[in-house]
Symmetry: C2
């Protein structure tokens, strides 16, 4: 079917605007600390896991690498940051998914918010890990019987993932750090072609204060109310899909508090950003049920008990879809 040339021109213009907005964002962002060292560790990780992927002759089940993003990004309101806007996100979903994708044989680049939930640590008491431990009579460290199995499994699984070089952890705090890391990882993973996957569970700010226009010092709490104007963050999903890693399998998330607009917004994101899957979740029950929205329909995923991780089923379905994506390379090229 022929595309209406005016629609095509409009889409092209929108794409150009997005790219310009993204370029302006990165130009103005404060540079990532330790950029060269981080870039080298990412390149090295991808190179080690790229055997068997990408090239047309590689085995479909060969090395698969996933980039999982997790936790909320912050928007500083001052350059020497005391105040910032934050997005609610415990990092539970990304941390759990990391465990299940590692189990499924993936190498995982985990881009996470400092202080958010970590893989294999999700069961821990939130604020006092010391509650888990006791000293024995010879002052050896003991874990109460009730927690022993789970703590030992955590230590052992974590050591295994790190020891086998299957997990690379990259922390961020601000929206500036997050998007620079995502760009770095995505362009680096581009060489993996269809074997690369993105699981974009981080809660990314929609609005930010451009670095140049930001107050240098702490905003004075003088008399009267405070007025703030925030700019929109450029839609980087679009750039990721179009420029950074066009052949990868892309899963993004849509969180809303209002169920009436959720699925409609997920469908929009699917089309607008060319995602392979958009996972729709509601704040009220995101641990219990999600809807996977794809171009071929909707699939509801729910857990049958509080003891289960929803991410176990979700990962299983996504791994299958990713394998199909790898086996039909031509059909998904963009």
């Amino acid at each position: 079917m022929a595309v209406d040339p005016s629609i095509a021109a409009e889409a092209e213009a929108a794409a150009r605007r997005s790219e310009e907005a993204a370029e302006a964002f990165f130009r103005a962002a404060p540079p990532l600390r330790d950029r060269d060292r981080v870039a080298a560790s990412v390149a090295d990780f991808v190179a080690r896991h790229s055997a068997g992927s990408g090239g047309a002759g590689g085995p479909a089940e060969g090395a698969r690498v996933i980039c999982i993003t997790s936790g909320g990004t912050t928007v500083p309101l001052e350059q020497r940051c005391v105040r910032y806007i934050d997005n609610f996100a415990s990092g539970q979903r990304g941390a759990a998914a990391t465990e299940y994708f590692l189990k499924a044989g993936y190498a995982v680049i985990f881009i996470y918010r400092r202080g958010s939930k970590q893989p294999y640590c999700r069961f821990l008491p939130e604020d006092s890990f010391l509650d888990l431990f006791e000293l024995g009579e010879d002052s050896e460290i003991q874990v109460p019987q009730s927690h022993s199995t789970v703590v030992k499994a955590a230590i052992s699984n974590y050591r295994k993932a790190i020891g086998e070089g299957l997990l690379l952890k990259l922390p961020f705090t601000t929206i500036f750090e997050y998007l620079q890391l995502l760009q770095m990882v995505a362009t680096s993973m581009n060489c993996l072609g269809h074997h690369g996957m993105f699981f974009l569970a981080a809660a990314v700010s929609d609005f930010y204060v451009p670095w140049e226009s930001m107050a240098k010092h702490k905003i004075e709490s003088a008399v009267g109310p405070l007025n703030m104007q925030l700019n929109q963050v450029p839609k980087m999903l679009f750039i990721l899909r179009k420029i950074w890693a066009p052949s990868a399998f892309c899963v993004s998330f849509k969180l809303e508090t209002d169920p009436n607009i959720l699925l409609q917004k997920a469908e929009m994101a699917l089309k607008k950003y060319g995602m392979n899957v958009v996972v729709a979740n509601e704040l009220a029950n995101y641990k219990d049920v999600v809807v996977m929205v794809t171009s071929s329909g909707r699939t509801t995923v729910s857990r049958s008990s509080k003891e289960e991780d929803l991410e176990e089923q979700l990962t299983e379905l996504l791994v299958k879809m990713h394998l199909e994506h790898i086996r039909q390379p031509g059909s998904e090229d963009r």
Copy 2:
């Protein structure tokens, strides 16, 4: 010296405005979850530690109770909160002070931001406590020799404080929770008279969005910039001093990024809110040096090496000043 009646009238009017603003804030705030249970645990804790304090005949060195606040408060921008404004504060100072005040014989009510630094856990790697542990040959939990002493001391000190009932921990996230907890603890501690102390190290928001005027659902990231108007949070230090616990020894903190205005603002806070001590610190070097501002002058406290906690010296000085405050009850009555 006679006070100018017009100045006294002006001060009285300002006080009334503060009280009205505080009342309006609490009326509109979403009620604390589990309020009754928390209030009972606070009342019980204070009652257990009130022996020997308060009454004129009690021993000056008798039971002393300190309320330490720690970490930053958040300001929700939506009722079903996805986005919020946060204040930078690791909780390092409050967590360290809690350890030193416990060591000095105080009972401590620790009002802390969820996820902030905890007493005896400050040495831990930020995001992966699992890095501290290994499994031995018989799959027993081991701590590498390098960390063994410090981990064992932490477990033992923490168990001791909890076991002896000397530490009560109360978590908060939002400015609404924080101020309701502070009011509850302060009015409960009022019976301790001069034996009560406040160490107000939490980074409290200056601006907030009143609950009624807050968006119910997630703010739409539609086209164009976002405009927000934030109201000032009423100055609760004033109310704490005047109404909640007028005889307690009060230490507040002033953090600025601009050193040129820091001491002047600390002096202002000392007078305006009737604090006993205002600790002035700069974001750039708050772990290395602070200035204690009192009505009788300024004292600089600095640490001589990175291995030291500034809070050790700070606590020592404050404990001495609190004892003087207890021994001269008449002079400090307000």
